[in-house]
Symmetry: C2
Subunit: 280 residues, 2 copies
C-alpha cells in the first residue's frame, strides 16, 4: 500500500504526522498511571480507616476482612501503576530515539523539500507562459478575422511563434522539475511509510504491554474479591458474638448468693471469706 500524496502539500502532511506521532502513547499512559495511583492511595486510606475505625465491637473481625481486602487491592493497583510507569519510561526512551530519527530524516529529505519548492515555482512560470502564448494566439486570430495588413499579420505570427517556443521551453522545464519532484517525493513517501510502520508496530507493542498489565491486575483483583467473599462467608454470626464475648466479657461466673452459714458460731471468724455458691 502506498500513501499517494503527490500534490505539493503532501510532504508537509507526512512530515507533520511523523514528527507529532511519537508522543501520543506517552499521554495515553500518564493519565491511567495517575488514576491507578489515586485508586491505590484511596484503598490504602480505606484499609487504615477499617483498622482504626471501630475494631472493638462485635463487627471487629469483619472490619479486619475489609482491611485485608483493601490493603491487597491497594497493592494490586500500586503494582499496575508501577508497570505503567515502567512503560512510560520505555516510551520516553523511545521518544528520544524518535527525535534523532526525525532529525536525520529531515536532513536526508532536504532534496525533496527543494524539489517541492522548484515544482511550485515552475508551475507558476508555466501558467504565466501559457497565458502569454494564449494571448498572442487570440491577437493573431483577431487580426486574421479583421483582415489586417499582411505585415501586421506576419508580426503577430512571429510573436505567437516566439510565445509558443517560450511556452514549450517552460513545459520542458516543468516536466524535468516535475519528474525530479515525483522521484524525490516517491522516495520520501516510501521512507515516511517505513518510519510510520515501524512506529505503529512499536506503539501496538506498547499497547499490548499495557493491556497485558491491566489483564494481570484484573485477575489479581478478582482473586482479592473472591477471597473477600469467602472470608465474609466464613465469619459466622455465632463466631462474631463468641469473639466479642471473649474480648469484652466481664467474667464467666454468675455472682451467686453469699452464704451466712457459720456466722453465729463465731469462734474464729477472723478473715472469714464470703463464699460464693453458684445458683443453677
Amino acid at each position: 500500500m502506498c500513501v499517494c500524496v503527490f500534490k505539493n502539500a503532501g510532504f508537509d502532511v507526512l512530515y507533520h504526522n511523523m514528527k507529532h506521532g511519537s508522543w501520543q502513547p506517552r499521554s495515553l499512559l500518564i493519565c491511567p498511571a495517575a488514576i491507578e495511583e489515586t485508586y491505590s492511595k484511596s484503598m490504602s486510606k480505606l484499609a487504615k480507616m477499617a483498622s482504626n475505625g471501630s475494631p472493638q465491637g462485635t463487627f471487629a473481625p469483619m472490619w479486619d476482612v475489609f482491611r485485608v481486602s483493601s490493603d491487597k487491592l491497594a497493592l494490586c493497583h500500586l503494582e499496575l501503576m508501577r508497570k505503567m510507569n515502567d512503560l512510560i519510561r520505555d516510551i520516553n526512551k523511545y521518544g528520544d530515539e524518535q527525535v534523532k530519527i526525525h532529525r536525520k530524516t529531515k536532513e536526508e529529505m532536504v532534496g525533496t523539500v527543494e524539489a517541492v519548492q522548484a515544482v511550485q515555482v515552475q508551475s507558476g512560470h508555466l501558467q504565466k507562459s501559457k497565458e502569454g502564448y494564449h494571448g498572442k494566439c487570440l491577437e493573431l486570430d483577431r487580426l486574421r478575422k479583421e483582415g489586417a495588413p499582411l505585415k501586421e499579420l506576419e508580426k503577430a505570427e512571429m510573436k505567437s511563434k516566439k510565445a509558443a517556443e517560450s511556452f514549450s521551453l517552460c513545459i520542458e522545464k516543468y516536466n524535468r522539475v516535475g519528474g525530479e519532484f515525483e522521484q524525490k517525493m516517491s522516495e520520501s513517501a516510501q521512507k515516511f511509510q517505513e518510519i510510520e510502520e515501524a512506529h505503529l508496530r512499536q506503539m501496538k507493542q506498547l499497547i499490548k504491554g499495557y493491556s497485558h498489565s491491566i489483564e494481570d491486575t484484573h485477575v489479581q483483583v478478582g482473586q482479592v474479591h473472591e477471597e473477600f467473599k469467602q472470608n465474609v462467608e466464613n465469619i459466622g454470626i455465632d463466631n462474631l458474638i463468641q469473639k466479642f464475648a471473649e474480648q469484652k466479657g466481664t467474667g464467666k461466673d454468675r455472682p451467686g448468693a453469699v452464704s451466712s452459714v457459720g456466722l453465729y458460731f463465731g469462734w474464729f471468724p477472723v478473715g472469714v471469706k464470703l463464699k460464693h455458691k453458684h445458683t443453677k
Copy 2:
C-alpha cells in the same frame, strides 16, 4: 451461646455495643462509593482526552479504541457507585430503625439498670457490715484472751451478736437484690444477643450485596478489557496507514508530464488545456 458478662460493667458493654454498632456499615461503604466516583470521573476525563487528544494522525483509530474503552470503564464504575449509594440509602434507613429499636430497648431495660445500681449499693453495704462484724469478733476475742471481767465479755458478745444479725440481714438483702440483678441481667443479655444477632445478620446481608455489586462490575470491566484487547488486535498497521491516506491524502494521481503536441498548429488554441500524460 450466651454472652456471660454478669459483673456490673457487663450491661454498659452490651449497651454500648448495641448503640454504636449499627453505623459501622455506612462508613464501610461511603468511602468505597467515593473512590468509585473518583475513578469513574477520571476515566471520563481520560476518554475526553483521548477524543480531543490528537485524532488527526495515523494513530487516530487507536485513540478511538481508547476513548470507547475509557468511556465504558467510566460507566462501569459509575454504576458501581450508584449501587453503593443505594446500599448507603438502605443502611441509613436501617440505621434510623435501629435508633428506634435502641430507644425502645433502653426503656424496657430500665429495671435492669436499677437492679445493677441496687446490687452495686448493696455490695458496698455488705462489705461495710462484714467489716463491722469482723471488728466486733476481734474485740471479743481480745477480751477473752485478756481474761476481761464477765460483764465486759457479755457486753462484747452482745455487740458481736448484733453485728452478726445485721450482717446476716445484709447478706439476705444482698442475695435478694443479687438474685433480681441476675434475673434481669440474664433477660437483658438475652435481648442484647437477639438484637445483635439480627443486626449482624443484616450487616452480612448488606456486605453480600456490596460484594455482589463489586463482582458484577468486575465481570463488566473484564469484558471491556477483552473488547479493548480485541479492538487493538483488529486494527492492523496497514489499516491505520490506509485510513490516514484516505483522510489526509492530497490526491491519488501522479502529477505527470505536460504535452506540448499541437502547440505549433495554433488554428484554434483558445482554451487549450494542459493534458496530463501519466508517466509510468
